[in-house]
């Protein structure tokens, strides 16, 4: 029986991190302080609260009416995939401190990584050569991204900014092309839509669509009640999903500028999020040590990936090319590999000497890359 909980918070003071610290504070459904409201305002607040409860119940009831079955039942006849044993094929050495993020280029050969040694490195994963080593103004980097074109990379972190670098500048030097500044909290994640648009998520609880050329915000996506930690763009580039410290994932329509759906169920912060390859489902990874699969068209959670022996939070995740495998990086230095349909663990990648902070599968599906606080990246297949 799958219950999808809609968790809503009502707070007098915003609980989003705007002091630049990496604190992920939030509070669970506190009653609103009515000390400064007039009587009629108190009345309206009470009406709003009642309507919120009614709507939450309506949504839960509607989701139950779609629940004619479960994925578990539907996949009962499917055989679990055989044990998946991947080997480390390459180790990318060069960072001098914890790696916080990595992102594959679309050519499945180059990737970019970000470390708190204050560098962005673009790697040729086949030769292990460093194509670019870009020094950053702020070493407190938390995310990086590769543009689909291969022309640009971006990064950001505790400087609250998203910096865009042009890899293909005329004189061969990699320079800052634009600094996107407006967030009032740390930059947790960024993903390019194209060379002219990028989406960011922030500790200020919002996500933003930027015009890179003008350096301005095109759209602010507000709604999360906790730090937005991670985002993913749909395969058709029309939607993006965000996971946050309010324990929910949200689906956003980029051009209509609205939140379409909200998914709850996790019992702690969502640190990682990604689309299933066909764009119809979303996978989340949380500090509650589980991953969850939500179907967008059925508007609910289909499966939870959990095991009593896994007690450490999920830091990162990536689906394999067919979607059948889910790779999840944890605080306990390992990556767990799940059969996504059967919710059974079918493999482990053990090779790092510290937390796995980031993971990505190349677009041709040939390899998985992990990045760790041990300062190394590893390529597995």
């Amino acid at each position: 029986m799958l219950l999808c909980l809609h968790i809503w918070f009502l707070e007098v003071v915003s609980n989003c991190s705007d002091d630049g610290s990496h604190a992920k504070d939030h509070h669970l459904s506190l009653p609103v302080s009515t000390g400064d409201l007039t009587t009629s305002a108190m009345g309206e607040m009470e009406e709003l609260r009642k309507e919120m409860e009614n709507l939450k119940d309506q949504i839960t009831a509607a989701r139950k009416t779609f629940q004619d079955s479960t994925l578990q039942e539907a996949a009962a006849g499917v055989t679990v995939v055989g044990r998946v044993q991947l080997k480390t094929r390459k180790t990318l050495r060069g960072h001098l401190a914890k790696i916080y993020a990595m992102h594959w280029g679309t050519d499945s050969t180059l990737c970019v990584s970000a470390s708190q040694d204050g560098k962005l490195i673009v790697w040729d994963t086949i030769t292990t050569n460093k194509v670019n080593a870009i020094p950053l103004k702020s070493s407190w980097v938390m995310t990086c991204a590769y543009a689909p074109s291969g022309n640009l990379v971006a990064c950001g972190g505790l400087d609250n900014m998203c910096s865009i670098y042009n890899l293909k500048g005329k004189d061969g030097n990699v320079k800052v092309m634009r600094e996107l500044a407006a967030h009032t909290g740390y930059l947790s994640c960024c993903r390019f839509l194209s060379d002219t648009e990028i989406i960011t998520s922030s500790g200020d609880c919002t996500c933003v669509l930027w015009d890179i050329e003008t350096g301005t915000q095109k759209t602010v996506f507000a709604g999360h009640q906790g730090d937005a930690m991670s985002l993913g763009v749909s395969p058709d580039f029309k939607f993006f999903i965000s996971g946050a410290c309010d324990f929910t994932a949200k689906l956003w329509d980029i051009r209509e500028a609205e939140c379409r759906q909200t998914f709850g169920g996790h019992e702690s912060d969502i640190n990682a999020i990604g689309f299933f390859p066909n764009g119809n489902a979303v996978i989340t990874g949380s500090d509650d040590a589980t991953c969850k699969l939500y179907d967008l068209r059925a508007d609910q959670e289909l499966l939870t990936y959990q095991d009593a022996s896994i007690m450490c939070g999920v830091t990162s995740l990536a689906p394999s090319k067919s979607g059948r495998l889910l790779l999840a990086g944890h605080d306990d230095f390992n990556v767990n590999i799940w059969d996504m349909l059967k919710a059974e663990r079918v493999g482990v990648l053990a090779g790092h000497d510290n937390r796995v902070s980031c993971i990505g599968v190349s677009s041709d599906g040939m390899a998985c890359c992990t990045g760790s606080w041990d300062s190394f990246l590893k390529i597995w297949n």
Binding site: W8, L10, E11, V12, V32, D36, L37, A41, E44, L48, E51, M52, L55, K56, I59, A62, F66, Q67, D68, S69, T70, L71, A74, A75, V78, V84, L86, R89, K90, T109, T125, I126, A222, G223, E258, C259, R260, Q261, T262, F276, P277, N278, A281, D295, R297, A298, D299, Q300, L302, S320, K321, S322, R324, L325, L341, G365, M366, A367, I379, N381
Partner: protein, 72 residues
């Protein structure tokens, strides 16, 4: 921010949340059985092209160092 401003901003926030919930309550979904079978079909159709599942022959693995052959 004064406490009065906080209160009126929390009222505005509450109104926005109700508006959002109203929109989400209008969502028309499909049955889980259909969603599940579509996911399973996608996995099935793409499994044979899935390198991490099917394995990669050494000659086709760009990440595997190919040992040179010596003719004895």
């Amino acid at each position: 921010m004064s406490s009065k401003m906080q209160s009126s901003s929390s009222m505005a926030q509450a109104r926005l949340m109700v508006q959002q919930l109203r929109m989400e309550a209008r969502f028309e979904g499909i049955k889980v059985s259909k969603a599940s079978s579509d996911l399973m079909r996608y996995c099935g159709e793409h499994a044979k092209n899935e390198p991490l599942l099917m394995g990669i022959p050494t000659s086709e693995n760009p990440f595997k160092d190919k040992k040179p052959c010596t003719v004895l």
